[in-house]
Symmetry: C3
Subunit: 453 residues, 3 copies
């Protein structure tokens, strides 16, 4: 055999062999890291109510080893794992009505970290006024346990978003963990291009074949979110989807399993609302609600038992060769490695959302470093916090006198204007307002209409 080496010119594996380090400013989340301290400014969903039995639960969040428990009085405690006395794990503590008692020497701590009983120490010990167990604010809400791990002198208001209170909606909490950095998981949610390829064209349709057409994708930045808008022509309808990444790590989509642009829908809302919470630099816990109801997904179409299908279009646990033949989000994100190396990427126009998100994240992280704390979602007064994500499908046929792409763009601009106009309204009034205005927009064939408020 003779092998001509000429065929190998231009192979540049060797030239590209170096692997620079990851970007610590955006990916490292441990104690006292820039991004870690930034993320600690926010409330995060950290566990499901159903994960918490009458026993303490070991949990690790942003590189901190913690124990979560619910007192027999129903209060939630989230404390440093190691007892402030001699370091035994409070995982083995006994939960009582008002706190948790360390197994080793019997010291008891309240949910706020106060020393309630110092075991064999005198009852008048000065320890009682002095020693505290490290504790974080935590609450339980609609099946999810939330925590705030930032400075205790500035606990932000717990933000209730509009999509926590969609009428006639069943909210099913779910969780899953990915062995990779939090940013990879978060960025997956701001990237409609992967839906086109991963979920449709490369591996066959995992959701709908309509996803195989990218649609008109655009991004813009709001006070607390990066929005991704996707407009599509489906027969005589214009289908407008808004995806929303609420900073720093929340994803809201449209109706994953229902919306295909064929049925008319006015201000449909999101299938899921999810936090991508760093466990540590290389593990991420997703904590989310799946929404089932007339404005999201019908429960018949999606099963609350089958959350992985909802998450990524297929189950996680499959034989190795099946995973290779039909990878899902898990394989795509985890396959990037424990922490993806940004310096090895070649981002392009279709990565605009990811680039925008990283730029904003970096600004906010650096602002924190200069003492400027990030804006909280509740800072603008409206409660619940208004968000825009979801699907609107209007019957607006293509016209002879205007490029259809231009018609879709102009219609979407009008819809965004409607969302924006409604920003200050109360939740029920807001829904009515938006719906009526969208109907008027539809009736006007996508033309600008006069505001009625």
């Amino acid at each position: 055999m003779t092998v001509s080496v000429d065929q190998f010119k231009n192979y540049d594996g060797h030239a590209q062999r170096e692997r620079p380090p990851e970007d610590p400013e955006l990916t490292h989340v441990g104690i006292s890291t820039p991004c870690g301290e930034y993320l600690r400014q926010f409330w995060h969903g950290i566990a499901l109510s159903e994960e918490l039995t009458d026993l303490p639960l070991e949990i690790r969040i942003m590189g901190e080893d913690l124990v979560l428990f619910r007192t027999s009085d129903g209060e939630i405690g989230l404390v440093h794992r190691h007892c402030a006395h001699r370091g035994a794990s409070l995982k083995f503590g006994r939960v009582e009505s008002d706190g948790i008692r360390c197994c080793y020497h019997g010291w008891k701590w309240g949910v706020n970290g106060a020393l309630l009983d110092a075991g064999a120490e005198p009852k008048d010990s000065p320890l009682y006024g002095k020693v505290r167990q490290g504790a974080y604010p935590a609450i339980e809400y609609k099946g999810i346990i939330f925590a705030y791990m930032g400075p205790g002198d500035s606990v932000p208001e717990f933000p209730v978003y509009d999509t926590f209170e969609i009428p006639d909606t069943e909210m099913v909490p779910y969780t899953c963990t990915f062995p990779c950095n939090w940013l990879q998981v978060t960025e997956n949610g701001i990237d409609p291009v992967h839906s086109m390829f991963l979920h449709t064209l490369v591996n066959g349709p995992q959701f709908f074949d309509t996803w195989g057409v990218l649609g008109d994708v655009d991004y813009f930045e709001g006070d607390i979110s990066i929005y991704c808008t996707i407009a599509r022509r489906v027969e005589d309808n214009i289908w407008m989807r808004v995806q929303e990444n609420i900073l720093p790590n929340i994803t809201q989509s449209g109706a994953v399993h229902t919306a295909d642009g064929k049925s008319i829908r006015y201000f449909g809302r999101n299938t899921f609302f999810r936090w991508c919470v760093p466990v540590d630099d290389t593990h991420t816990k997703v904590v989310a609600w799946a929404n089932f109801g007339p404005r999201t997904d019908p429960i018949e179409g999606s099963s609350p038992e089958n959350i992985e299908i909802l998450e990524q279009g297929d189950v996680f646990d499959r034989p190795a060769d099946e995973l290779q033949r039909g990878p899902g989000d898990y394989e795509a994100m985890v396959g990037q490695g424990p922490i993806v190396v940004h310096a090895k990427e070649n981002r392009a126009t279709s990565d605009k959302g990811v680039s925008l998100f990283r730029r904003r994240l970096r600004e906010d992280v650096r602002a924190m470093g200069q003492g400027r704390r990030p804006v909280q979602p509740t800072a603008f007064g409206a409660a619940p916090v208004p968000t825009w994500s979801g699907d609107t499908v209007l019957e607006i046929p293509a016209k002879g006198d205007i490029e259809d792409r231009q018609l879709r763009a102009q219609t979407f601009d009008q819809a965004i204007k409607i969302f924006s106009d409604a920003q200050a309204l109360r939740a029920d009034e807001r829904d009515t307002f938006i719906t009526e205005r969208l109907k008027a927009l539809e009736a006007a064939g996508g033309e600008a209409i006069h505001a009625t408020t």
Copy 2:
């Protein structure tokens, strides 16, 4: 839902979030570390005879990878794992009558590390006078294999303690391994407060409910030991227990399973004698004898098959939720983490023994660093080495004219004086002397008596 953030003031998890490093001076045991070199000054029990078959045994002690073997002539060899010729593991060596032969190129080493056969090298090779396999002194005694890993030019005498030779006592060797630092395991043995809480009050009585009362605890320091004394009133009896931590890593208790202060006992001895030997910085091998006999525990009460019950009151291998509901020493010590961080502790009055032990250990480690080698247990001439641990129960009812706590203290002082007076006697004479004097003390109702020697 509205959450008031006021409820979260004083939560200081964030303020306490940093984790300083462990204390290397007391916890790091590897080659050429201060504590490692200090620990290497002593003989340690490192394995059970029954662990050693006709095959070499891989063993790791203080971070050194070793191979332990017994020649067919019955000599014990403890050598560096990698053959001094080309590094093959002597785990795969062939044990012969006078040494171990490496599988790879046939070099044979005696138990003292001498090169007995250099394989394919000439019989008159200069290697024979020059090359040695790293070997440590090792002996086999009453079912346990002991080793000394310090400098070869100053091998200390092997210390035989009085409690190795208690008449009518069955000594059952046992071993178990804990994935945590040696100091955590050792400190557990100098801490009677954990017996009160871990073994009794928090998790229900794992031994006796009498342990739920702490008793009068005190500590004092001897030439080679830290003693912990515990006095309790049990009906008309005064129950005096001495626990003893022989430096650096030996624990002797009282009679764990029998003594409850209800039966009269004169100079009862210890249920176990155990070494807490570092495997490396984060693993510890306990090698011990359990003692069964009239002066320790009766074999009916404790089972030699059930050593874990003896060690910690319950078995190690239980379902996860059972471990959480009824943790034992394993969960308490291992739950502190691979190496407990002293800088995060809040030690208090009830940790006096631990603090005392650490102070003494640090002094001895630092003295070593200045060239002063630690005192050996055999340094005081008496053989076997006299120790004090065990239980004495005297019938001395409470009196009207003296605070009972004072009566107990004064009685214990007298008992300690008796032990001290007997220090230089031969073992059998000593037992008789102590027993008679304790009886006299009992007859005198705890008052000082005149010495009869």
Copy 3:
């Protein structure tokens, strides 16, 4: 018990306790290490054809994470594991007729790393001329996949050796992986002394009891190889074996399972031809052919299904105590540790081959560091590349008038001269020439003969 400490004098485990680091110059193989860059100058067998199905194969070579694939058109691609777009693993890529398409955003790369399709990017994107996936030259040949991972501007000719084309020989590809450094595995092949001890004297004969006699061993250095010659007297025969280590990591032996010196053989060849390819610093993949045929081993004696027997005389996967009682090459090499520490060795005369190999390797690595690239096996013009390894057995009885060791040496010198004289001949002519000359040498009773070419 009294233990005399006198028995322990000269134990020097403590004096020898330090473990210096390994030798990075010869053992570290990662990106931009001296030895790594040197090894990257050569073609290596990296996988078997049968390992590569229609799915991409994750593979790790010299610390680089790669993906190997075969297009449906039959071309072999070896590329960096992470997609040059956003880092998803090409393990989950879809293999197409002309390349591999990333699952995440659909970018497709040719086997040469060219960007063939940039997914959602415009068809006239400037990316097409600019972005490449890191790719390495790779070919498939006789059931083995070969790769070159050095600089793309100087791909060496793929070397075909004479022993790839032995007439009437069945070549059976095989592979196995050892969790230790590449140098340990390579050195095993240059060390006939281990055959004497590991495979024969220490553990009983794993191959032939004749191996228990070392023979006359010598080494010499050629342009591309280190040769080891072994001469033995077997009754009236002189058995001459040449083992050959082609730099940097190829081993060719004689006929492992057949040759015992009892049957006459003229220029018999090697049982295996194997590459010891670093997976990373602490793992090595052997990729090899076993040869079955009249000039190597008959297939009746060795089974292609039982490659481990061929490799080391026994199977790898045995119960722990069986491994200890009868260790093979796996236990010997892996037992040396992940990377053997040369500074702890005591090499001797019988390690001459290993020392010679390391010296030559170090010279070549250092030359590379000074810009001098190593000589390639094809540099001398002859194709296929002539090699010498194998067995020759001539009937030359011992003589009265000459020391037999001297007779063997002189006969071997003549044989080597014959090999050398034949160096420039074409393969078939060369075999005939060598065979005839060896017969003449035999007829002359080992005396020098006149060249007939």
